[in-house]
Amino acid sequence: MDFFDRFAVPHPSFLIYGAMVSIAIAMIAVVVGITYFKKWGYLWREWLTTVDHKRIGIMYLIVALLMLFRGGVDAIMMRYQLSMPDNTFLDSQHYNEVFTTHGIVMILFMAMPFITFFFNYLIPLQIGARDVAFPRLNALSFWLFFMGAMLFNMSFVVGGSPDAGWTSYFPLAGNEFSTSVGTNYYMIAIQIAGMGTLMTGINFITTILKMRAPGMKLMKMPMFTWSAFIANVIVVFAFPVLTVLLAMGTMDRLFGTNFFTTDNGGMDMLWANLFWVWGHPEVYILILPAFGLYSEIISTFARRNLYGYKSMVASMVVISIFSFLVWAHHFFTMGQGPLTNSIFSITTMAIAVPTGVKIFNWLFTLWKGKIVFPTPMLYSILFIPLFTLGGVTGVMLAMSAADYQYHNTMFLVAHFHNVIIPGVVYAMIAGLTFYWPKMFGFMLNEKLGKWTAWLLSVGFVLAFIPMYITGLDGQARRMYTYSESTGFSALNMVSFIGAAIMAVAFALLVYNIYYSIRYASRDIGNDPWDARSLEWATHTPVPEYNFAIIPEVASTEAFWDSKKKGHELFKGKIEKIHMPNNSPIPFIMSCLFFAFGFSMVFSIWPVAIIALIGILACLTYRSFEKDHGRYISVEEIKETEAKLRGAKK
């Protein structure tokens, strides 16, 4: 039995047993359901082996929504625990696990796949391409990410969750102070998912540089594509740092090296520095595509072109460069001295300038527009003041002397939620609502959508504004409890109420999807929002090959021009289309990565070695495989086009 003891959760509770049972029931239900409806073949052919960017995108979306639920449950548990002084709902160990996994799940397994969903689904459509540059690599990216996410989530029920914070500072995350396998999960699961992200970065940079439609010069790309391009450049520069960092951390934990230990020449501060050299650009990887989505949405519903296109692009380039020059602001209090702090204080504040330019450009895009307020626009309008509030508190935090008082407090927690929720999460929901008809051929219910937006915003304000106040009153972050005498309880209760309202809003979003699947009209045409860029120029649902004829582009708003100025998008005639073949290799290889990661976490070396050999075998097989793809014949395309045209409009 000794062998199996290691898989036990070191600190079990009713909640964890409950989770075990519900996960088991859910898995059995899924397996029985698929078998009952005889969908295994369909699942394998159409999804598990697919290389279609649209399907991969939708799989990213499903994972992101599941993880949003998981991270959200973590959040509500934390807020409930802190809503009353000396609450005993969670003990210290559970609270530490919950805030650690909340951070990792929300950043890496919710926000990252959400933006990758948009990259996947939209970029080829926006640039008039038929797929990404490396479709099979794209499938591998997704499956690696998926396996990383699953491995990480397993920690909750097998072996114990990481509990050293999402930043996992050493020496706390070292073997001496984190004795469970939780931090091994952190190192290895994020490593596997991170490799997927790095491949995504390379893939989309190539796609955007090499596969744009004729006439689409760089400065004629839609703004979302620009933002995605810059974000992916940051990915390619920043993620290798994470890879190295996690590899070093893994070696410290598993093989007794001393990179981050405090004796034998190791240095704990090195972890903090490298973590944030990756970590700060990471937040811009999240926010820039969100800015891109807002640009598309605001311009569409102001019925105007985006104001200051060039300065929008320039500001993102400047932000991307500065994102690598500010990492030390995450630890002004580490004692670098006033000179270093002054430099990082100034670079950090400087980022406010290009960000401010973007805010003003959105405001001027509304100016002289003809503004309508469907749900995506409502999110974008709510985003502007709420994000501005988050941005200016960021400038406050950038003042390093004052940061000695904000650091590690709820003020900081309020600030980064104040930028990430209105910045990223609103953009994700707005974008999802905006592109839902493109993906599924029907619209989400507007009334429910607006209720969601308002509830989310009211909940957000109630949940996070009080944290600014308790932070200034001395409430440190990551405290699992506090005493009555601190006086934090009233505001923390308000926070909990706000969090509960946000939970209701997310539940309403889920209900909206259910409701709209059942009742929404399927007769919406290809362009339900009267939009402006190429993704709306093709049919809904989008055929496998995206565009029967590759469009020709003359401005940033090619589709708008074709509607209003008689610009001819599709010249020439239909020819046979070359498409990539599906492949099981990415899925199989990622399963092997999962086995490898799992056995690494528990130091089961034979399995790890076998899995590694399997991974190398997959790579070798791929190198010798001759697969030149396939052609879709002209007749087949014409048939599809006729059918799509008949069904819609």
Partner: protein, 307 residues
């Protein structure tokens, strides 16, 4: 819908106003020392400035939303195509740059202020206290007075204090909000936090950096008192407290929570602080304290004579 939005904006502005008005003084905005005062002043200044920015953005947003909403315009209005204007963009870049430059000057100035002996105390010899954390306690060593306390610290008011910070274990952060902001305590170097209390009283102190299971209750009490009371306390400790032995200190380091305790002697004698240069400008190279211990008795005498 617009009414709802206005209500929400009012909530936001109202909440900020509550902070500004300071219904009850928040710890950080109720400074009891020069460093905390510098920081609180910066915070208040930036809150006002930033509120101004938020209000301007809100005003522009509300203006364009109301003026240019579709229901306010004729059916056949076609919004124009506007590329952008160099003048407008220069303003949008210029004004933020001016604000950032202004705040940078304030920030740099304050940086140097909080990283040195507090203003008004330059002519004094600062009191040096070694504050080291262990899971989940704080140990305060007074090398000059040759005493050590656990989980509480007495300091003389109106005297510059240099806290020398380090940790037996994870990174912690030493924070007394009313005296000044925090700084990390780490196990492989010593950092210095310059503080002073210009009032007598009791203050909350805590570790602000997550350090494991006992983190939430990793707090200590700070009492600021007159120099005479402080000296009296030191004498009393020497009369009544037990000496701190190496075995006793090892027991104290065991993970857990402890109440207050007091000893004569300091652990610096057998477990010196990690004072070696780590390439950081903050870890000043000093002679290890324990080499001076022979002087302690006489140093203390001098101290007593001074007041």
């Amino acid at each position: 819908m617009r009414i709802k939005m206005k209500l929400m904006l009012l909530t936001i502005v109202g909440t900020i106003a509550t902070v500004l008005a300071g219904c009850e003084p928040l710890l950080v905005l109720d400074p009891k020392g020069p460093q905390a005062k510098t920081q609180a002043d910066d915070i208040i200044l930036s809150i006002w400035l930033m509120s101004g920015i938020v209000i301007v953005v809100l005003a522009i947003l509300l203006f364009v939303l109301i003026k240019y909403r579709a229901s306010n315009q004729s059916e056949d209005y076609e919004p124009p195509h506007i590329e952008g204007s160099h003048l407008v963009e220069a303003i949008c870049i210029g004004i933020p740059i001016i604000i950032v430059i202004f705040l940078s000057v304030v920030s740099v100035k304050s940086n140097y202020e909080v990283e040195t002996t507090p203003a008004g105390y330059e002519d004094q010899e600062p009191l040096i206290i070694y504050a080291s954390s262990s899971n989940w306690k704080w140990h305060f060593s007074y090398p000059e007075q040759d005493i050590e306390t656990v989980n509480y610290v007495y300091v003389p008011a109106n005297r510059a204090i240099e806290f020398k910070l380090y940790s037996y274990g994870p990174i912690t952060s030493f924070w007394i909000p009313q005296l000044g902001g925090q700084k990390y305590a780490m196990s492989d170097m010593v950092t210095t936090l310059h503080l002073a209390a210009d009032a007598e009283g009791e203050f909350m102190g805590r570790n602000a950096n997550f350090s494991g299971a006992g983190f939430a209750k990793n707090t200590f009490e700070v009492t600021s008192m007159s120099q005479a009371d402080f000296d009296e306390w030191v004498d009393e400790v020497h009369d009544t407290a037990d000496p701190l032995t190496e075995e006793k200190f090892d027991d104290l380091l065991d993970p857990g929570h402890l109440g207050r305790s007091t000893y004569t002697g300091t652990h610096l004698e057998f477990s010196p602080a990690p004072e070696h240069d780590h390439g950081s400008s903050d870890s000043e190279i000093e002679e290890p304290e324990h080499e001076d211990h022979t002087d302690h008795e006489s140093g203390e005498e001098t101290n007593h004579d001074n007041h």
